[in-house]
């Protein structure tokens, strides 16, 4: 068994009279369409396996009818699996007796819905407290907790309103508050922001990301919006015809799509936006080591001329970035008759950028600097440079 917060193993869902027969036929290589035509069984989810790590946002993507909504309902068993296993913290939900399943739902998992699914005859507060009420918490206790989560989503002043008095975005904040109120370690979100307009959708994504900063929960998020998936997803799983075709980080999917179906998702997206400094860097700038004393001006000057470069970077003996130097500066130095050390000519005010800096910020830094900018890894070790030319080439697609 794989490890992870949620582990899904060879999961099937067949809608029809003889699910086992249909699964056997699938294993024999029958197509979904043939099974529907000859046996009348609809394959909802077919042999899906994946795992979700603690604290990540796992986005399931696919066109409508690809089985993503069914798949998440198999995880909290709103839909009964036909075959396969779903482990949550090592416990097989697919085989759990009803009573323990209800316990698990009350204690540790919740769900957010596309249509918000609030109860119209309950106030915002009572809606947020719903899960706690079902779990049998006292009125005082559940209202206190509901108020806390409403404050977190910025709706505390609306606690005594009814859902129909709120806008769509606000209603979904209530839906989110209801899911948070039971303090679950995992939340299933089914197209949770799809019914909202683009601005509100972005706003809700920010709310979600902000909440994740203070309290990391494991989230399975179904979406058909690739921008949303790339924005919030730690990893993305792409579904087609009930099958999970590919799982990976947004960048992995952009770089190595498994097939045209996956590639098509990213067609409409300006994938460059998701490039980071680490992906843009190159070994294009000559490097010199400053081991207590600066390298010799002549050596550097000749090397740069030989390589037809205008800039060089200097690192210390631990390979940390020390400074940059340009050919012109060296020339001035040599003209002034000072040929010993380069220390006076080294520009130290240039700050290296971290590998995970997104493209838009990298551009900003390039604009502020005359020459290339150095990139360092998480430990501050120099690992490459980005020049203006390099950036343009990379964005055009090498």
């Amino acid at each position: 068994m794989q490890s992870g917060k949620i582990v899904v193993e060879n999961l099937y869902k067949v809608f029809g009279a003889q699910p086992q027969e249909a699964i056997d036929l699938l294993k024999q290589g029958w197509s979904k369409d043939k099974i529907l035509a000859e046996k009348g069984a609809v394959i909802g989810v077919s042999d899906v396996s994946f795992s979700v790590e603690e604290g990540e946002i796992f986005v399931l993507m696919g066109l409508s009818g690809s089985g993503k909504s069914t798949l998440i309902r198999l995880i909290n068993r709103l839909v009964e699996p036909s075959a396969g296993n779903v482990y949550i913290d090592g416990q097989n939900v697919a085989k759990l007796p009803k009573k323990q399943l209800i316990d698990l739902r009350r204690r540790d998992m919740s769900m957010v819905f596309q249509s918000f699914a609030l109860m119209p005859s309950r106030t915002v507060l009572d809606n947020a407290a719903f899960g706690l009420e079902v779990a049998g918490k006292s009125r005082k206790e559940r209202e206190k907790r509901a108020m806390e989560v409403l404050t977190q989503v910025g709706l505390d002043t609306f606690a005594h309103k009814f859902p129909h008095e709120l806008s769509g975005g606000m209603q979904q904040r209530v839906g989110l508050a209801r899911a948070l109120a039971v303090d679950p370690s995992m939340i299933i979100m089914d197209e949770a922001f799809s019914a909202l307009d683009p601005l509100k959708r972005r706003e809700m994504q920010d709310v979600l990301l902000e909440l994740q900063k203070t309290h990391r929960r494991t989230i399975i998020f179904v979406s058909h919006d690739i921008e949303e998936a790339m924005r919030i997803g730690t990893r993305i799983g792409i579904m087609e015809g009930g099958k999970l075709i590919q799982v990976g980080t947004p960048q992995e999917l952009v770089d190595n799509p498994a097939n045209d179906y996956v590639r098509n998702f990213f067609d409409t997206v300006d994938t460059n936006r998701y490039l980071t400094a680490g992906q843009l860097k190159a070994d294009s700038v000559p490097l010199f080591v400053h081991n207590g004393k600066a390298p010799d001006a002549h050596t550097v000057s000749q090397a740069l001329q030989a390589l037809d470069k205008h800039y060089a970077f200097i690192v210390d003996e631990n390979h940390r970035f020390y400074g940059s130097i340009s050919l012109e500066k060296i020339a001035l130095l040599v003209e002034g008759g000072q040929t010993r050390g380069l220390d006076h000519a080294v520009l130290k005010q240039i700050n290296p950028v971290p590998e995970d800096m997104p493209l838009d910020q990298v551009i900003g830094r390039l604009v502020d600097n005359e020459g290339p900018i150095p990139v360092v890894d998480g430990k501050g070790i120099y690992c490459g440079a980005i020049s203006k030319g390099r950036l343009l080439t990379r964005m055009q697609g090498e």
Binding site: R73, L78, S110, M111, M119, F130, V134, R178
Partner: protein, 293 residues
């Protein structure tokens, strides 16, 4: 009448006769319960003086609908008092309430059951169709044979006639609750009882209240007809006016029925539709009670 090839009617006669011969004790005890219940309700309605009962209805109209409807209610009841039909109106009201309460007590649970099972729905549907479309007078004959004359057969026949909408609209209301709302209930760990009382019933309430409204209206129309077996109330006057071809009496008693019908209809309807505007409505109150359990 042309010659009969198949005599269904005589079979029905035989069945009723058989019931009468073998189970009259059972029917007597049912009759006793119904009779006691409806007499209880009637005496409660008779207890306050006319002006107090009128004031209660006017107050309800003012709270639920508005000043104009309250004024209409007041004028209507005063008209009924002045034409001398007050007592019969209260009797009719009592019969209507008794029949309605029995219909709802049977119909709503039956509707809930039907909503949970496709098979129950399939079995119940033709029976409900039969109950609703069979000419209402026809129930009066076996009812009178099994329970004797008086208010009991009247109420029993009325219950049969007025129960279908309560069953149907409860069933429909529960089935129409948004699928994601049901899923929300389940995903937060509702057991089936919590799902019914915290999710399905509160969300089906507008539809159930529409059923209550229709049941009341059908019960009112049927208790008038039930005067043929001696149920009493305004129906007696309507019946008398037909027998004596007394147009004046027919108009006066008929008008009392119409006014009563309008008042009952508007007030019960308001409990179904104004749920969202009026927070202190019966529905919120009922669902709050249900949710608290």
């Amino acid at each position: 009448m042309s010659e009969k090839k198949l005599d269904l009617g005589s079979w029905v006669n035989d069945v009723v006769q058989h019931l009468l011969d073998n189970y009259s004790g059972g029917f007597d005890s049912i009759g006793g319960v119904v009779s006691g219940f409806s007499e209880g309700i009637e005496s409660v309605l008779m207890l306050p003086p006319a002006w107090l009962l009128i004031a209660i209805f006017v107050g309800l109209g003012l709270w639920r609908i508005g000043a104009r409807f309250a004024a209409f209610t007041a004028v209507s009841f005063i008209l009924i008092v002045l034409t001398g039909f007050w007592e019969q109106t209260v009797v009719t009201l009592g019969l209507t309430f008794s029949a309605t309460l029995i219909s709802l007590a049977l119909g709503i649970p039956l509707g809930i059951w039907a909503a949970t099972s496709e098979r129950v729905t399939t079995i119940i549907r033709p029976i409900l169709d039969f109950m609703q479309t069979m000419p209402a007078f026809v129930y009066l004959i076996p009812a009178a044979m099994l329970f004797g004359l008086g208010r009991v057969p009247g109420i029993i026949a009325t219950v049969i006639f007025a129960m279908p909408p309560a069953v149907r609209l409860t069933n429909l209301g529960i089935r129409q609750v948004n699928k994601e709302i049901i899923e929300a209930g389940q995903s937060f760990g509702c057991n089936s009882r919590q799902l019914l009382f915290k999710v399905q019933l509160p969300n089906a309430m507008p539809s159930i209240m529409a059923g209550v409204n229709q049941t009341i209206m059908m019960a009112l129309s049927m208790v008038i007809i039930a005067s043929m077996v001696g149920a009493g109330g305004l129906g007696n006057d309507v019946l008398a006016s037909i027998q004596r071809l007394d147009i004046g009496l027919g108009f006066e008693s008929g008008m009392a029925v119409v006014l009563l019908a309008i008042i009952l209809d508007r007030i019960t309807e308001s409990f179904g539709t104004k749920q969202t505007e009026k927070r202190n409505s019966l529905i919120s109150w009922v669902s709050a009670k249900l949710q608290r359990e």
